[in-house]
Symmetry: D2
Subunit: 464 residues, 4 copies
């Protein structure tokens, strides 16, 4: 197929864009245009130049036209796919999201999904997604839309609520890492070397708080080995992508102690990085203090760290754009391009994905965004019914899922009291008194109001 | 009807039995036998004597034979109704339930339904209810069973789980008090004097955490006046059965500040006393400290207070049994006897009641015990479908409902790890670290093991 | 209450209006205005005059102003209640509805609810109800709307679909007759004389195809006597309002043989007149031929009969309007006024009623119009969850319920192919070949096109 | 894998066994034992000999030990898979099933799934499946069980009802033929030559009455071409496996006219052979008379035809067993072996399959056996949620699904009245009067009582 057009909203992305562009470059059979759209035009232009350099790589199998669109309609028109990966606000807002709660001894390891940070980030992001959904409805209503932005659930919810006929889904690689972890367990316990693509895992939950109820390698159920494995590794921990103590220097690393602890409690395995998992539990469990975090062997990712990392990435991007640094063109572990190929009819692919619940998670509210496996095939995605969880983890998911439902309704109605009801019911806010929670919420809204004033009547709210 | 037999399990009750016996005594048309069964035989005998004295009262319209049964089968055989109102354990166990958590700055205002105390009390009570259900199945499978014991939901759950064909329901007067409060609001706002029996309130939730979505007096919706009323009374509070500061001396009193606060947050009115409501929210909200409790204008009911009260009641009972103190024979505000009359075909009665969800609360799990209105009529109880709540309070109910479902499963399976998963997920345990929660749970189990050892493998658990 | 306004759409009604007006006249406490609106102005004026004469009766307790509104907005404005009871089309259309299918040996005993007649009548009526719903939304969105028009289910569906916030329900007295029948059974079997108001019947189903799963008089379950009763009366039959062979001369009468036959098959009692019940079953069961109908001891109500009856009623109406014949002012057995009193807060009333399914019939599609008991009280109606039916009658109801859902969608979309899919799936059409069904449908549409052309593209359809 | 054991219940099968055995013989990687169990020992021995000869074929890649088990426990013990393919009763019973109703002008094209024949066959088969389920529970509770016997739905239902933890599913190739038909449409309309394995079809329904809502070949939706195709082929018909008039000589052939007719009515494509589809509709539609059947261009498969065919097959089997006729060893179009390979972890496979509804068909009763796509993978089968059907075909499915649910309950309870309620509600019985249906049912029971007396109290029933 030579005439594919991919509209990339947030096409100035420093990290994910490059992975995606190289994955496309090594994918045979597909060619066409990648239309980069970003409010940060400079970054989009930079990625356009990097794209041109990718086309020059000897590893490149498919050559794409990288175009830069100054308005969203140009990007969307005639698109075969829309991919969305944006960062709403700047590091200033992220700094407030992540660090403002620390004054109240409320720590966040990520701060972009659940917890106070997730709520504030949702408040900035959802209105933009309302706009995207409206534009997609107008410009390309039958186009497949793939979301990569966090908070995943609520962004996907917004797309479907504004435009119910949209063909959208949300992709996230968190589960992949847990699959890698399961491969390590398999290796440790049986000596068998398997790749995660060889496992069949049964996935159920919501984004960043998914669970695996069964993990099969051929006729081996890896879950049968968990107790034994955990007996050995609970204390020292294990990290699937590095040494167990990598978390000491790499603030994205973790030793899976949180994951193993939750498995011990519930008998099923949560399938996201420990940094994410911890944020879905009461703050006293794993995030009570920096000391406790270190004991659980994961890290609080600071915004300073992110700023520094971003700075390096920008420099690297410029070098790649200017051709002073080569772009490494090789297949990543991401599955977005594989999914696109399946939707184009090249194959059938099963992958975990975020979609409205139409029955794949029986007993959970219909229409809520849930993450289960689904079958991608010729122009279709069909969710697979998930095996049920025990009651206790079901309860944990329900709480967070309804928090998101309520938060979405609050944002949609621009009702700050309703939003606050979700804020204060975040497990991470469980130690806060009502007064503290209220102060913190107002403070975080104030800190980030540059990106909120357009949508909410803040003065009125603060006057109350 | 002259040949009614009421089997009273827990017939030695010091308080509720007398109310029930006098309500029966003033109910025309009904007569027969009240078969008192209690493991505390002395107390049952005492109530038997009080019954004899009630029969002598000039206000008494129906004379009953008060019999004392030493074994449960005698009590149950040929019963028209079984009523159950027991206290599992002694004040020693209750002292642990209520006060042990205080060491961890976890305060409870009641400690018999939710929170750590509710979990421990469930552990003692459910196995007894398993026994009751089995005996009812054997001795009187078609008899109506009315439960008054707390924790209401899980006791009723046990009856239905052990004997699914049982004709059982749970009665609780907490909603009545909120109806009295609504009458006071109506009076304050419109000048209209109404009795709670003249209101129609739409009830939804779980026991002690029910909510009223609509309260109609004729064509007046009292909810329409709530904002105005709360503006006036939020700070000073109001108590439907006494002065607003009654809580300072009466540890059962409260000023409805918690209730009004929750209404402000959610737009619907929780319908239980503030002492109960507070226990369904994170401990930091209303029960963070004795100081905070006083600010919210309710009280922590101590077990010392209960012991003293019980002591007085026992003395009073003895005097009444011996005839040195007269029994006041008059209709109470309780509805149990009215419900029994409706089931006997004398009338049709609508009342809130605890029953398995068969659809009356759409969207909630089927089979969970929920509290809504129901129609009592000739030998039948039919739950009325409840109007839905907003998302945020739905979430609060779901969390507690699933906690109960999981707790019940844990007790049924005698699985202390599963029980602990409900313990630690109690909103009142939200400040505790995992270590603290674990210590506290073990401590509370140890404190009350005299009443647990029969059912659980505690040594094995503590050895792990 | 002196200031009640009742908007009566179809206020020229010859029969039902008079019952309703006299029931209001003997209802103490209520007074106000009855605003008659009808496209047949003459008939409305006639009822207005009858109303004036009712006001003169010595039995009259409440005096009403009977006004005649030439446009619907005047009638609806400020109404306390809207009642709707219309006849769409004339006897010419009804003649086609009822008798056209006879050419294909398809007989109908009523022809206004199910079967080919019910479909055609729906096609004429639903568009008018779309108009009513729109007008109610505009003029009196918070007013209670009571529907009496057949086909009941689809008319009520239209009201809710066009205006989801409408406060509407449908009232039908068919169940009352079965309750009378149950009283006769009670009398026969136990000697007890009871009135239907003393029974509590558990009702489930759809209009004219409701079922009673339990009928309690005090603590007697009348269903326990059914087998014995039916053994005695299955062959000879029994009619609750006259002799068993009344059907020979009164084409509204029946001997309950169909009802008893269905009870024998399914173990639960269908609760409508045999004339209606027969139309929900395959035509070969009870309506195969006039001979078979006579064997089952009910009658085919002919339109000639109805024309004659109507003629008498018109004459009677004129006499009553002119005062040459007195209006008998006494309470009927209808419950509409009792329900209105309950909604005004005078009482709490339980009655079977047609409402969208919100959970009162678990397992049936939400939003479909179903008939169960409900509680009417101060400005509210709350459906009562119904006890489930066995699978076989559930299946019968589901088929007809989905037929209505599909028929409604077809009418809403003005899609004659979709409408035909419901037509041909009517149990009464089960003997027809596709060719016959198609011919019959087209013929019936042609016959009644005077009342259809406004809404449907018939020429286009016939050209296909 | 060298140690696979397949227990084949019904291992004397004349047709399906050979297909299955050759498919296994050409499947690389798999080897082990095929344990043939059949009450017809002679036939099992014959298949054992054929197996030995298959092992000699040059095309054979995997050699299997064919053993013959005289008792079922030996066959089941240590089995990796159980496959079940039995014929309950003889051709005498089948003759009654298929032809007895013809006396009442009720014709059946197959008579083994729906209609009177399907009911009677269920009555013979389900008790045997109760036995199988019990034996599997005892001997090999964790073994995968694949059912091929008709009536598929009710057999699978019996397995799950008797042993809820069973790992069973039902396989049927009917959908495959419709996929071949869709390939022919694709070829006709676009010129593209595709194999059915290249399509992705969305499947929903119950066995032999499944529907396809979407059929994708790459990014082409074949449904978009249906109207055009049907315009051309509706009259002349088309058969995917031969000439359009093959039905004249091959009583298994059909011209897809029924299928196209149903597509025109409902906008979605039923996915089974016309002979099956016709049996799910009222008898007047496609099976009113042999003449009508011929007009719709399909055939009534007579039992004489089957007897003749069986006779040939037996002769052929004997020749193959004796080695006088070679066994053709090549891969068939069946997917059973592919599915087994997927369950063993060799691949991931998506295929339509019969399973209890756990949410894959939202809105349909949970626990009913439904047919949708599912993912087969390492030791797991996970159903895929199906896209919903329009209301009218939903209604058709619901009717038949509830008929099966009721029929199953009736057989389980050995309640012939309940069974008759499903019999008379078969669409194919829609022309029968109650008297005729009753006579026919009793006649068919009498005809086949040799295979029923063991399970049902027939004398008692006939005496009523």
């Amino acid at each position: 197929m030579k005439n594919i057009k991919i509209a990339y909203l947030g096409g100035g992305s420093k990290q994910w864009a490059r992975v995606f562009m190289t994955d496309l470059a090594v994918s045979e059979d597909l060619e066409g245009e990648i239309a980069l759209y970003d409010i940060d035009i400079e970054s989009a232009v930079c990625n356009q130049k990097i794209g041109a350099n990718i086309n020059l790589s000897p590893n490149t199998k498919s050559h794409w036209d990288y175009t830069m669109c100054e308005n969203i309609e140009d990007a969307l028109k005639n698109a075969t796919f829309v991919v969305i990966s944006i960062l709403p606000g700047t590091f200033n807002e992220m700094r407030s999201d992540v660090h403002a709660p620390e004054k109240y001894e409320t720590y966040q390891s990520v701060g972009d999904t659940a917890g106070p940070g997730g709520v504030l980030r949702s408040m900035r992001t959802v209105p933009i997604y309302e706009f995207f959904a409206q534009k997609i409805k107008e410009c390309c209503p039958k186009t497949w839309v793939i979301n990569f932005t966090n908070p995943m659930s609520i962004c996907t919810k917004a797309l479907y609520d504004v435009f119910p006929e949209i063909k959208a889904f949300g992709c996230c690689h968190e589960v992949f890492h847990t699959q890698d972890f399961l491969c390590d367990i398999l290796k440790e316990e049986t000596g068998i070397d398997a790749k995660r693509s060889e496992l069949y895992t049964d996935v159920i939950g919501i984004n960043h708080f998914t669970w695996i109820t069964s993990a099969k390698y051929k006729n081996i159920e890896i879950m049968d080995y968990m107790d034994d494995y955990i007996n050995k590794f609970y204390e020292i921990g294990h990290y699937e992508h590095g040494p167990a103590d990598a978390y000491k220097t790499d603030s994205f690393a973790y030793a899976n102690r949180v994951k193993m602890d939750m498995y011990k409690r519930y008998g099923v395995l949560p399938a996201a990085g420990d940094r994410h998992l911890a944020e879905f539990m009461n703050s006293s469990w794993y995030l009570d203090s920096p000391k406790q975090v270190a004991d659980w062997k994961f890290a609080l990712t600071t915004v300073d760290f992110r700023v520094k990392q971003q700075h390096e990435r920008i420099e690297e991007s410029i070098e790649m754009a200017e051709g002073t640094k080569p772009v490494e063109v090789k297949k990543s572990d991401e599955e977005a391009v594989d999914i696109m190929r399946a939707l184009l009819g090249f194959s059938t692919k099963i992958c975990n994905v975020n979609l409205p619940n139409v029955g794949q998670m029986p007993g959970y509210p219909l229409g809520a965004i849930v993450e289960t496996n689904a079958v991608f095939s010729n122009d279709s995605v069909n969710p697979i019914t998930a095996k049920p969880l025990p009651i206790a983890p079901t309860n944990l998911i329900m709480r967070c899922l309804y928090n998101i439902e309520n938060l979405y309704e609050g944002i949609k109605e621009r009702d700050l009291d309703k939003i606050f009801a979700s804020f204060v019911n975040q497990p991470l806010c469980s130690k806060l008194t009502l007064t503290q929670a209220n102060e913190l919420f107002k403070e975080m809204v104030m800190n980030t109001r540059e990106y909120l004033d357009e949508y909410y009547e803040l003065d009125e709210y603060f006057d109350k």
